[in-house]
């Protein structure tokens, strides 16, 4: 298999699997570094130069959009990296002149400016809450895995159109009025599409097409994910009763 064919194979695998995508990025990190260096006129340092992270993301984005019938992948990746870095530098230009609270303040110790500011927050309490959140997210991820889903899958299949998003949230609103439906979902690992369509008034086709997202939403509103639910403060869910 030629180098070009091997690359195309890696790109196609990366489209389907997050770990394959990670391996692709690792394999092409020297190329990504070189493209970044061309733009920032120095060698980028991982963990220090956000431009390198932006370039890695642009490379991944190119892999997701790649169509082998339309040309070489490296050319596409190079263009996309440049496009994203130019975008990023324009956005960053707005923040020029500001200092980051994560920067080290004056003095010889390692404290950041944020560490020095006493803003009255309970840092220990925040740390405990953050640990609880991480555990909750891990539990959520594992529950999704029971349905054969990953968070990357859900993100890929999340509705992009506003009206479709609202329709799925309408399904959620109905499901909240019928706790038995969510219980059935958790026990059978099957989405009760017919019952949800009938009760919510959303077309069966729409629910089927976005089943992974609907499952993710219903799971988030099952027991044990209070912090994740609390994050969804801007979601307007109009409670809807079931139709006869």
């Amino acid at each position: 298999m030629s180098q070009g064919d091997k690359l195309i194979t890696m790109v196609e695998e990366a489209k389907k699997d997050g770990q394959a995508a990670d391996r692709l990025i690792e394999a092409y990190l020297p190329f990504i570094r070189a493209e970044t260096a061309k733009f920032i006129h120095r060698h980028p340092q991982e963990g220090q130069d956000e431009e390198l992270s932006v370039a890695m993301f642009a490379f991944y984005e190119a892999a997701m959009a790649y169509d082998a019938s339309r040309g070489a992948f490296i050319a596409l990746a190079s263009r996309n990296i440049r496009h994203r870095l130019i975008d990023y530098s324009r956005k960053e230009a707005r923040h020029r002149g500001l200092i980051s609270l994560d920067d080290q303040g004056p003095g010889e110790d390692d404290q950041s400016l944020l560490d020095r500011i006493d803003d009255g927050t309970d840092r220990i309490g925040d740390r405990v809450e953050n640990q609880a959140l991480q555990m909750e997210i891990e539990a959520y991820r594992q529950d999704l895995a029971l349905f054969g889903l990953t968070l990357s899958d859900v993100a890929d299949r999340c509705p992009k159109q506003e009206r479709t998003l609202k329709a799925c949230q309408q399904v959620l609103a109905y499901a909240k009025t019928e706790p038995g439906l969510i219980r059935d979902l958790l026990q059978t690992k099957k989405l009760p599409v017919t019952a949800l369509a009938k009760g919510s008034g959303v077309a069966k086709k729409t629910i089927e097409r976005h089943r992974d997202y609907v499952i993710a939403l219903l799971l988030a509103f099952s027991n044990g994910f209070e912090i994740i639910r609390g994050h969804l403060h801007a979601m307007t869910i109009e409670e809807k009763g079931g139709e006869a």
């Binding site: 995508a21 990025i25 993301f57 009206r163 097409r209």
Partner: protein, 257 residues
């Protein structure tokens, strides 16, 4: 205000949940799971044509739209600027470009720039061709040399156009000069990077030879080294080398989500 909760991190991207319930893939700028963000760089997706619209139908629709567009006074659109491309070679020139990426105005920004564009017909020419022609002209007239640098400053209201034009022109010029000239894209207002300094390797002088009794020798005629023949002037192939990658079309059609 929209906020984003980081759910999962990968090498190049993270999965976040926004406060309206969307799961998104975004650039992973050193995030940790559980982190809450106010701003993210989300993935740009290409929208596919819906199955109910055939490509031929869409082409017909596009052709009809073009006709309507022209009937409604397309001249105004052809003459209204979309952005500008400044080439700093020293000479410096600026091309104002319309929505079809054609030059509607070309001006020299310094006396050498005015000289460079004299007698050059740029009006309604594709900006790619104008940039290439003027860069080649600068080289031929001695303003630009091997190892020199061209700074490109693209400005316009649409960030996507600016980014795409910069990428395209830089690749066009890199392909034209095959690495002999450095192409740098600058953000408007940015200071250009210094040109790389030549590397000088000092050579130690040879030690003076110890004197020996001078032998009697017949003088030899001085050898004249002929001057090296001047290098032939480079010729540049003016053929357009098509980029392997077609610029993606902007698919405006909605999917049937």
């Amino acid at each position: 205000m929209m906020t984003y909760l980081v759910l999962e991190t990968h090498r190049a991207y993270a999965v976040v949940l926004d406060s309206e319930g969307r799961f998104l893939k975004v650039a992973n700028l050193g995030y940790a799971v559980g982190q809450e963000l106010e701003e993210v760089m989300a993935i740009e997706e290409k929208r596919a044509l819906p199955f109910s619209l055939s490509p031929r139908f869409v082409q017909g629709l596009a052709a009809a739209a073009v006709m309507v567009f022209m009937v409604l006074g397309s001249w105004q659109v052809l003459l209204s600027p979309q952005g500008s491309v400044e080439m700093q070679i020293n000479p410096d020139i600026m091309a104002t470009v319309n929505r079809l990426d054609r030059v509607i105005r070309l001006e020299g920004l310094n006396p050498d720039g005015v000289t460079l564009i004299e007698d050059y017909q740029a009006r309604m020419q594709p900006v790619d061709r104008v940039a290439r022609d003027l860069a080649v002209k600068a080289l031929q007239e001695g303003y630009l040399t091997d190892g020199g640098q061209i700074n490109l400053i693209i400005d316009g209201q649409q960030d996507a156009w600016v980014a795409e034009t910069g990428t395209r022109l830089s690749q066009e010029l890199e392909a034209q000069f095959e690495g002999r000239v450095r192409i740098v894209i600058l953000v408007p207002g940015e200071t250009p990077p210094p040109a790389p300094e030549p590397i000088v390797i000092p050579v130690e002088p040879e030690p003076a030879p110890t004197p020996s009794p001078a032998p009697v020798s017949t003088p030899t005629p001085a050898q004249v080294t002929p001057a090296p023949a001047p290098a032939p002037a480079p010729t540049y192939d003016d053929d357009d080398d098509d980029d392997d990658w077609d610029d993606a079309d902007d698919d405006d059609a909605d999917d049937d989500d």
